[in-house]
């Protein structure tokens, strides 16, 4: 019978699908692409067996040796607890939905099979990431999902911008990963294990006699590991890659850059939470980074005109919410928000894809408008997603945002709380703007006038996700013997209690945001240029994304490549020309000078011979005869 012990089958099936599609796939009908959805479907089926086994028998771990060198032994193992299995469900479900959607969305594209091959590889790696029971194994999967992200962002590699975005994504996340790998190795050096449970055990007894792990070391390594999460989850200041990642096909954005891969950082911190908890400084950093990200990126989402970029900045901002919740000691709230956000945002991206499908590939909101009657299903889904993210009762986003706000207030105090409310307000505002600009008013382009609803195959996942966005509300209520989903995920934490005043406050904030959006973009009671005209400097800074991208570009162009050029020149001139060619040339020059004595004149030679003989004679006389 299938159970937790067979959980490895899920990534394995997807990995096999990748290999088959990528290698002999082209001889199969439709490049064998159908293997992708088929594999993820079977993984999704297995998930239910795993889940029921988990609920019956409780958490478990399994492992086998992967690498052994000297006394270093690295295992491949799985950890199956409430957190990982829930994530497993999320990953396999969203991946399934997105692949079904892609079947219609991507039809007619070149490299159809390749697309599904990478999707399968992604699903496999993401599941491994979720299941991994040691940091190293997780790092492996971590890099592999990064690779898939790279390949899929650069799917339309003929576009220079897509190739650049792919590179940017990989390199930026890699910067975080360097920190993460250093952190992992430091922990290994001190604790002597990669096992998450072992590290957590050592961390919980930090500072005790006989424990090699000092409190400073714990803080340093947790911060380094958090650097990996910052990169992967696009937190400030490594957030720059995610908006650019929208160069990939839209379903990819839905799956990888909204619902699954980008939450890996959140998952990592949640997984390591007991260790983070023991390092208060690291926790503060997590909270501050989360808050900065949530706040700054929600402002940017307001000024973007590309529909996918609005969603991208919204994603970054909401990832900030999750980090903030984690930094406020609320694992349950963070993961709860992760789930509701994943459903809503995946759906929003798929809707955006549906919209751009309807208007023949346009992505600029200024060229849309009035699509409500032409694309009713898409409109309904997008509205549900937007309202959920805005945090309107009774959608699931309301409950998760409420949990986050409660956690922040309890864990970090009023200043954090108020700033979080500001971010939530803008979250509601830009969502209202998005929906209103795209779906109401007059069509503003030829394509928008002739828009059409998307095929059924694309609408099915949309509707399923919409239902889930509404249905995920049940997660706020008692589940499987726990007070709510948050406590199911992290039983050690305290369950947040529903506070009426908090719920009221958050509803008012969301309502205010939506109302402002309605006034500006719905009724045009306030001109959209009202704020722009009054604060041109703010507008300029926002449109340049706080100049962060420009700054990074400058650093790369002038500092990184400058140093590279300098070293290359140093290598060529100092090491090569002076150090290597120099001795060679001086030998040649000495030879050139020495050969001048060869005159070719016979009398010269004779004279030298005679002189030589005389010298020898004199020496002989001096030393042999006289002595």
């Amino acid at each position: 019978m299938l159970g937790m012990e067979q959980a490895w089958l899920q990534p394995a099936i997807c990995a096999v699908a990748f290999v088959v599609i990528a290698l002999p796939g082209r001889v199969l009908p439709r490049s064998g692409a159908w293997l992708g959805p088929l594999a993820i479907l079977s993984a999704f089926v297995i998930f239910w067996f795993v889940l029921s086994d988990l609920l019956k028998n409780g958490p478990a771990t399994f492992s086998f040796t992967w690498l052994e060198a000297g006394d270093v032994r690295i295992m491949w193992g799985m950890i199956l607890d409430n957190l990982s299995v829930s994530m497993l469900g999320l990953v396999s479900f969203v991946a399934l939905g997105v692949q079904v959607y892609s079947w219609a969305y991507m039809s007619g594209e070149p490299r159809f099979g390749w697309y599904f091959a990478v999707h399968s590889l992604f699903a496999a790696s993401m599941m491994v990431l979720v299941l991994a029971d040691n940091l190293l194994f997780m790092y492996i999967a971590w890099e592999l999902v990064g690779l898939c992200s790279y390949l899929l962002i650069g799917f339309y590699y003929e576009r220079r911008s897509a190739a650049e975005a792919a590179k940017k994504a990989f390199v930026t996340t890699r910067i975080g990963d360097v920190g993460m790998l250093i952190g992992i190795l430091l922990l290994y050096k001190t604790v002597g294990t990669f096992d998450i449970s072992g590290i957590i055990h050592a961390a919980q007894h930090v500072g005790e006699p006989g424990n090699p792990l000092s409190s400073v070391m714990l803080t340093v390594s947790m911060l380094l590991i958090f650097a990996g999460a910052v990169g992967k989850s696009a937190q400030f200041p490594l957030h720059v890659w995610l908006p650019d990642a929208m160069e990939g096909p839209t379903p990819v954005s839905a799956l990888i850059h909204a619902a699954t891969m980008v939450v890996a950082g959140v998952y990592l911190v949640a997984r390591m939470f007991p260790a983070f908890e023991m390092a208060p400084t690291a926790m503060t950093v997590v909270a501050v980074i989360g808050l900065i990200t949530a706040l700054l990126m929600s402002f940017l989402a307001v000024v973007m005109t590309d529909i996918k970029r609005v969603l991208a900045y919204s994603t970054v901002s909401h990832l900030g919410f999750m980090m903030l919740a984690l930094g406020s000691f609320g694992v349950g709230a963070a993961i709860f928000h992760l789930f509701t956000h994943a459903f809503a945002k995946a759906m929003l991206f798929l809707s955006a894809g549906s919209v751009s499908h309807g208007v023949h590939g346009k992505l600029d909101m200024r060229e849309m408008g009035g699509l409500r009657s032409k694309m009713p299903v898409t409109f309904a889904c997008m509205a549900i997603g937007a309202l959920s993210l805005a945090g309107l009762f009774p959608l699931s986003g309301f409950f998760s945002k409420d949990a986050v706000l409660g956690t922040v207030l309890a864990g970090r105090g009023p200043v954090f709380f108020i700033l979080t409310l500001v971010a939530a307000f803008f979250s509601a505002f830009y969502m209202a703007r998005l929906v209103l600009v795209v779906f109401t008013g007059q069509p503003r382009s030829h394509e928008a006038e002739h828009a059409h609803e998307s095929p059924v195959l694309m609408l099915i996942p949309l509707v399923a996700l919409a239902l889930l966005t509404i249905g995920a509300t049940v997660l706020a209520f008692p589940i499987a013997g726990h007070a709510n989903f948050g406590q199911f995920i992290y039983p050690a934490g305290e369950a947040e209690h529903f506070q009426l005043w908090l719920a009221g406050l958050s509803t008012v904030t969301a309502g205010a945001g939506l109302l402002m959006g309605w006034l500006i973009y719905g009724t045009h009671a306030i001109s959209p240029s009202f704020f722009r005209d009054r604060f041109p400097a703010v507008q300029r800074v926002l449109e340049h994304k706080y100049y962060i991208d420009d700054f990074y570009q400058w650093v790369i162009d002038h500092i990184v490549l400058g140093v590279g050029g300098f070293v290359a020149l140093f290598d060529r001139i100092v090491i090569n020309d002076v150090g290597i060619n120099g001795p060679g040339r001086s030998v040649v020059q000495t030879g050139n000078k020495l050969r001048l004595h060869v005159t070719g004149q016979l009398p010269n030679y004779a004279m030298v011979m005679v002189l030589g003989a005389i010298v020898i004679g004199v020496i002989w006389w001096l030393f042999a005869v006289r002595a």
């Binding site: 690498l67 060198a69 006394d71 990963d177 360097v178 250093i182 090491i575």
Partner: protein, 503 residues
Amino acid sequence: METLGEYILLILTALPFVGALALILFPTNRPKAVAPLVLVITSITLVLSVYVFVAYDRVAGGYQFIERYEWLPQIGASLHLGIDGIAAAMMLLNGVVAFTGTLVSWKLVTRPKDFFILFLLLVSGVYGTFASLDLLFFFFFYELAVLPMYLLIGVWGSTTDFKTFFRPKEYGALKLTLMLVAGSVLVWIALLAMWQQGSDSIGRLTFNFFDLREVAFPPTFQKIFFPFLFVGFGVLAGLWPFHTWSPDGHVAAPTSVSMLHAGVLMKLGAFGILRVGMELLPEGARSWGPVMIGLGSVNVIYGAVSALAQKDLKYVVGYSSVSHMGYVIMGLGTLDQIGINGAVMQMFSHGIMTALFFCMVGVIYERAHLRDITVLEGLSKRMGFAAAFLTIAGLASLGLPGLSGFAAELVVFIGIFRTYPILGVLAVIGAALTAVYILRLLGKVFFGPVSERWAHLTDASKLDIAAASILVGMLVLWGLYPLYIYRIIDSGVLPIAKRLVGG
């Protein structure tokens, strides 16, 4: 198989040599028959290499497949062959790279007979070096492997000509040979000193590795002569600041020669440091270890940063080799069992990876007659296979998990972190820099709009694809399941590590 096991190392070493001699007698007017003949030879050696690797008994450990023929007993020299776990892995590497190298140069038009004579001599020299347990023959084979390179590059190489930067192939050939020979001189001095000192203390003349291993060389002697070996072999391993032959030489060399040279020959240097330097002079290695790891870290960062600024595809790969060999030197410099394990694995992994790199760069150059990454653009549309293989090589190079590069670098990192954590940080940063220049290269050459200028290019030929597939198979196999090869390597590293620890 009993008898085969007894003679297998001799066959491996001698077969390419005999093949080269046979080729000399081969009629010049039948150039087409040369490559198949060579392929037969290299496939036999490949099969035997795999056999040696698989049949090596890692539980028993130590030196196996030993055979010995007296050669000049008056000075204590004998043809003494045998391999440990480290050499077993290197044998496999050489078998694979030589075989794929033959496939790649199948279509060679210019004087194929002469080319393959030198090629086979080189292969024979490499096998001999890995298998020799006699310092005289070790040196002989070492030189045999190094010297054919001069002609191979000088005659069949290619000249780099950017308008502002001109490097004739003769320059590359000359520099490579002179620098390596200079290194050999240092090695030879140290070998003779060890012969003299060892023979004195034993009481009879001997070049034999086993005899010399029993000799307790005085600490001062070890401290003086270890640097000779380290620098001498280090030149071949691309040690900074003696690395400049490597980019220039590899750039000038024809494809299969680059493959063999960067893939296998550079490993001879590291292997020499390990086998002769560290195993025979452990005390010297102990006192010079910090210098080794320091220079190694310079290699890593310096190579990676230099690669950032290169415009020529092959120069990028050449500097990347300098950077990756830095990990090998760092791993050796830890003097730690884990670090050395990682270093050996990195030797293997880099050999395969870099062979794949040069193989695919060769494919591109052959078709575009250009290696300038600022000019090449959007090639993946026309050259899907080449793009895929070069991407895989690049990913292995930047340490992507699932490919053998990661399995190697990770263990090196662990070894460094256990000994010098600060340098470990540098090493990890080096890996990140690799990502930058590799992705920059891939992005420029393969992605972006398809230009009219490159529309006529054809994809890699079937033989190239076959060769690359074998290499990719190796990368993936040991990337996903490094346990097997690590156990074999570890059986060879363990005794060396013990000698390095015990005074």
